[in-house]
Symmetry: C2
């Protein structure tokens, strides 16, 4: 079987996943066609992962596929958009059937879990690189931007931070099963980030600004502050850390939480009055870590600081324009 | 100035180009937002170019940018869609200011000429690779697919075929200005393909099937035949060849025209009754090269043939899913 046939065989079923029905022409023509329902906006973002830069050499293809789709879908979560479909530009050095089968398996699992059907793509020969563009839908004017934070808003973060960043130390383990439970937990956080799509949707009409934490909490909160023209204070004692990260990294745990973006959690700002009315289930997903202030700049435990450099990791040259 | 600043400085102006106004949030947030006008469909396609595979090493960055956008926009032309915006996933080994400036210059020229504004993107470190996703708009149900060709339809091709493919021989010329006029003409066809956007729009409600010639006439006509469940006969004496290609390549001219896709012309099928009523200006852009038949398979000058292998060139591993 030729490479093109293999690709069609493994990828085309991903176009049949139940979606919103907005894709009316999927893979196979010159373009795909999406019919955006009346009253809704199309929300879209493209993200690239390069072997050796954003993920290790010889990374498991099913994990890679999951990660690529999760990273892109996380941007939809940060807009409060409902996921719809995606395109995949896959460049790979050779199309081995075993690699493609595993990759398609991981992509199918992620696509199914995130609610994204494959609308189209391009497969080319070259160094292993993936670009995924995700498409979501949101009520017109309802998307969550970075620019709406106002003085007095509470700053919240979802889940726990720093886990996936700390996992980079264990990525080269020959046998992950010989690692302890804590290390395996951290690695799972790296291998299978879960875009906070339901959380993002729940933040619609509640949050004034949202961003997904892809560059690290400080850097990404800094993007909200810049876009909104405000400052902030955060309390490190309130940063949500997993028990595993505390045990494994001890002194460095906070550093990972502040500077690592591989968890793909959300950071949002919410007016205090809205927070009081927020349902308990949603509050349990979020931790208040600080407050927006009119004075520019970021204060950590009362001390002025810079957003600071990104940590050395698998994502050190990245810019969204 | 840092790399991110350079990228913002050179790329962000491309978000300000006059477009349809459908992009309501451009670069700078987690996602871009496009508001598809009522009664229209979103038409989109992603294409990847890899250095050394789809274009030569050390290719001029302004030519590269033009080519990347043209290749993607050509898919919009093939759907009869009006261009709207694009995203750019750019992976590059280093962000030299001079390279970025030239690249942005070429991208801006192409974006302006094709009517595409920059909606968003991602810039990453790695081997030089570009993925461009273009977005177009078309009246609901009005997009031109590959699947509508019917027995009796005329097969037409735009412009002249084979020029850009023949130019591959001259890509390594140390000084292009020392080449003859014919060779320079062929090279220009390779460096600056012009997506047939206006032609595609004019084919709406006229053509029964359209494809852009990116894999070569025979291969791409084969895609129409497959999608439509029909066969065809073509006459090689009618294949449009430029005078330059005839002079330079003589015996091989037809071979380039049949197998090379780098010109990004269109191949369409049009019912004879519609062709009769087609305005002269549009007829002048097109050449009738054959006819669709109910018997499956492709006959060239009366002899049954296979679509055949793609030529060795800068695009030998490519699959759209």
């Amino acid at each position: 079987m030729g490479e093109f046939e293999l690709i069609r065989q493994y990828f085309l079923p991903l176009a049949q996943l139940p979606g919103s029905g907005a894709v009316i022409v999927g893979p196979g023509d010159d373009c795909a066609i999406q019919r955006v329902p009346p009253g809704q906006d199309l929300v879209f973002s493209i993200d690239t992962l390069v072997e050796g830069v954003h993920f290790p050499l010889n990374y498991r293809p099913d994990f890679l596929a999951w990660r690529a789709l999760a990273v892109a879908a996380s941007d939809l979560a940060a807009m409060g958009a409902d996921p719809d479909c995606f395109t995949l530009a896959l460049t790979l050095p050779e199309a081995s059937e075993s690699w493609l089968r595993q990759f398609a398996h991981g992509l199918g699992r992620a696509a199914s879990q995130f609610g994204l059907s494959l609308a189209g793509g391009d497969t080319t020969r070259g160094p292993l690189t993936l670009s995924v563009q995700v498409h979501g839908l949101v009520e017109q004017g309802g998307a969550l931007l970075r620019s709406g934070a106002r003085a007095g808003d509470l700053i919240v973060a979802s889940g726990t931070l720093g886990d996936a960043g700390a996992a980079l130390d264990y990525l080269s383990a020959v046998d992950e099963h010989q690692l302890g439970n804590d290390e395996q937990f951290l690695l799972e956080r790296y291998h299978h980030p879960i875009p906070r799509l339901k959380l993002g949707a729940a933040l619609r009409s509640r949050a004034t600004a949202v961003i997904d934490i892809s560059d690290g909490l400080l850097a990404d909160l800094g993007h909200i502050l810049d876009a909104s023209g405000v400052g902030a204070s955060i309390e490190t004692a309130n940063i949500p850390l997993s028990a595993a990260l505390r045990r494994v990294k001890q002194q460095q745990a906070l550093n990972y939480a502040l500077h690592s973006g591989d968890d793909y959690e959300l950071c949002a700002t919410i007016p205090g009055s809205v927070w009081k009315e927020t349902p308990q289930w949603l509050k349990r997903e979020l931790t208040v870590i600080g407050v927006i202030e009119s004075a520019s700049g970021l204060r950590i435990d009362g001390t002025a600081t810079e957003p600071g450099p990104e940590p050395a990791g698998f994502d050190h040259f990245r810019s969204s324009v």
